[in-house]
Structures are given as structure tokens and as C-alpha cells.
């Protein structure tokens, strides 16, 4: 029998992989993909709890999360296009003007 906890463990693994990717990867595009991974993990959590509690609110919130993820991808890729035009790179190590 697959319980909610199975889904939570899977979600935890996907979330951790997303965080690891954000920490070790320096390519802006890969970092954006890792954010999508994290949001997918959050969606699995929401829907697993929705099923566990018999409440549709989790699924409605997952719809909102998917919407925000799409908006985030559009903005992030817009930033990448602007960044490449400005600096000819997607390397986050070379985008350190605000780092001081």
C-alpha cells in the first residue's frame, strides 16, 4: 500500500536534489531548472496531503503553484536573455556587481 509518507519521502528527495543543484551549479539556466524541481516537490506534497485529508484545497493551491512557476520561468528566462545581451555569459560567478 502506498501511503502519504511515500509521497512525502519522494518529495523530500526531489527538493534536496533541487537545493543541491542550486548550490553546486553556476549556470543560471540550470539553477532555474532546480527551482522548477523544488516547486514540483512542493506540488507533490500539497497533493499528497490533499488526498490524506480529503480536502481539495491542496489541489487548488497546486494550481496556484504551477501558475507561479510558469511566471517565474518566464521572468527568469527574460533575465537570462537580458544578461546574455549585457555580459555574454550565463555564469552566475561573473554576475557579481551587487556582491560588492
Amino acid at each position: 500500500m502506498i501511503t502519504t509518507t511515500h509521497y512525502l519521502v519522494l518529495s523530500l528527495v526531489l527538493f534536496s536534489l533541487g537545493v543541491i543543484g542550486m548550490a553546486v551549479r553556476r549556470n543560471f539556466i540550470t539553477v532555474l531548472m532546480c527551482i522548477e524541481l523544488i516547486l514540483n516537490a512542493a506540488n507533490i506534497n500539497l497533493i499528497a496531503f490533499s488526498r490524506q485529508l480529503g480536502d481539495l484545497t491542496g489541489q487548488v493551491f497546486a494550481v496556484f503553484v504551477i501558475t507561479i512557476a510558469a511566471a517565474e520561468a518566464a521572468i527568469g528566462l527574460g533575465i537570462i536573455v537580458a544578461l546574455v545581451r549585457l555580459k555574454q555569459t550565463t555564469n552566475l560567478d561573473q554576475v557579481n556587481v551587487m556582491e560588492g
Binding site: Y7, L17, A71, I80
Partner: protein, 184 residues
């Protein structure tokens, strides 16, 4: 054969979970962004399958349409737009992050252990209540629609404004340069 039928949902779950995790590992292991994006697509499709397994069919369809259809095309489009020679040489930061990585790894191991223990003792979930709206039994899409447009109408409108702002922002940032005074 009867064993296969008895454990069908488990087999499907573990197959899809393995696909999702393998795709996620691919995202952070591949250096080529195109391969990472296609690997991410595998994760998206596996997660959509998991949504079906959790009886959230509407979200599975949305997942495929928005993620596999929209976001993934956007990613691949931008990767093609950015020339391949611009791919940065990766510098691994794990040396500096090693203590934090060890701590988080221990935390992860503990959480997974607790999860596995709880999974062995957990009660099975009951999804039948998810289809009850005002006493009638509906399909998943109809039930989500009822909830979305009746109970969460205001958040829905706010999210649509967020999408509009994101669209305008993406257009502004994607523009070549600021327009001259008196129009382009």
C-alpha cells in the same frame, strides 16, 4: 500474475518515483543545459503520472500542458538562443559548503528514516471525499473547478494579475533597448 495485480499501484509508484529521481539527478549531473532540460522533462512527466496515481487527474493534465508543453519549450528556446559557447565552466563549490552539506545530509537521512518507519505504520489515505461537492459525486476536474471558482475566487484573480505582471516584465526585459523619446 495475481501478485502483479495485487501490487500494481506499488509497482507503478516505484517506477514513476525512480524516473522522477533519475531525471532530477540528471538535471544537476549533466553539464549540457539541453540534456539537463530533457532530463527535467522526464521528471515532469513522471510527476504527472504520480498525480494520476494520487487521483488528481486535472493537475496531471495541467502539469503536462504547462510544464512539459509550455515551460520546457521556453527553456529549450532560450538554451538555443544562448550560444553553446557561452556555457560556463562549472566551478564546484562543495569544498566550501562541505560542513553544511554533511549537516543537511544527516538531517535528510534522519527524515527519510522517520518517513520509512512511518510509511510502514501509516494508515491508507481515503480519496473518496475529494469528489464530494454538495452531496454529489463529481469528477476531479469538476470538483477542483467548484473549489477554485467558489471558495478561492479572489486568490485566483490575484494570481491572474501576477501572470499579467510577469508577462509585461518578461517583455520589458526581453526588449533590445529602451525606446527613444517620442516613440520607437
Amino acid at each position: 500474475m495475481s501478485w502483479l495485480l495485487l501490487h500494481f499501484s506499488q509497482i507503478v509508484f516505484y517506477a514513476l518515483a525512480a524516473c522522477a529521481v533519475a531525471g532530477a539527478v540528471g538535471v544537476i549531473a549533466f553539464r549540457s543545459p539541453v540534456r539537463a532540460a530533457l532530463s527535467l522533462l522526464g521528471t515532469f512527466l513522471a510527476v504527472a503520472g504520480l498525480f494520476v496515481l494520487m487521483e488528481a487527474e486535472f493537475l496531471a493534465a495541467v502539469q503536462i500542458l504547462v510544464y512539459a508543453g509550455g515551460v520546457m519549450v521556453l527553456f529549450l528556446f532560450v538554451i538555443m538562443l544562448v550560444k553553446a559557447r557561452d556555457i560556463p565552466q562549472e566551478r564546484q563549490y562543495l569544498g566550501k559548503l562541505a560542513p553544511a552539506a554533511v549537516g543537511l545530509g544527516v538531517l535528510l537521512a534522519v527524515l527519510v528514516g522517520v518517513g520509512v518507519w512511518a510509511a510502514a505504520h501509516g494508515a491508507p489515505a481515503d480519496a473518496a471525499a475529494l469528489r464530494q461537492v454538495q452531496g454529489a459525486t463529481l469528477g476531479n476536474t469538476e470538483a477542483v473547478g467548484w473549489s477554485l471558482y467558489r471558495d478561492y475566487l479572489l486568490p485566483f484573480e490575484v494570481v491572474s494579475i501576477v501572470l499579467l505582471v510577469a508577462m509585461i516584465g518578461a517583455i520589458v526585459m526581453g526588449r533590445r533597448e529602451a525606446p527613444k523619446e517620442g516613440g520607437a
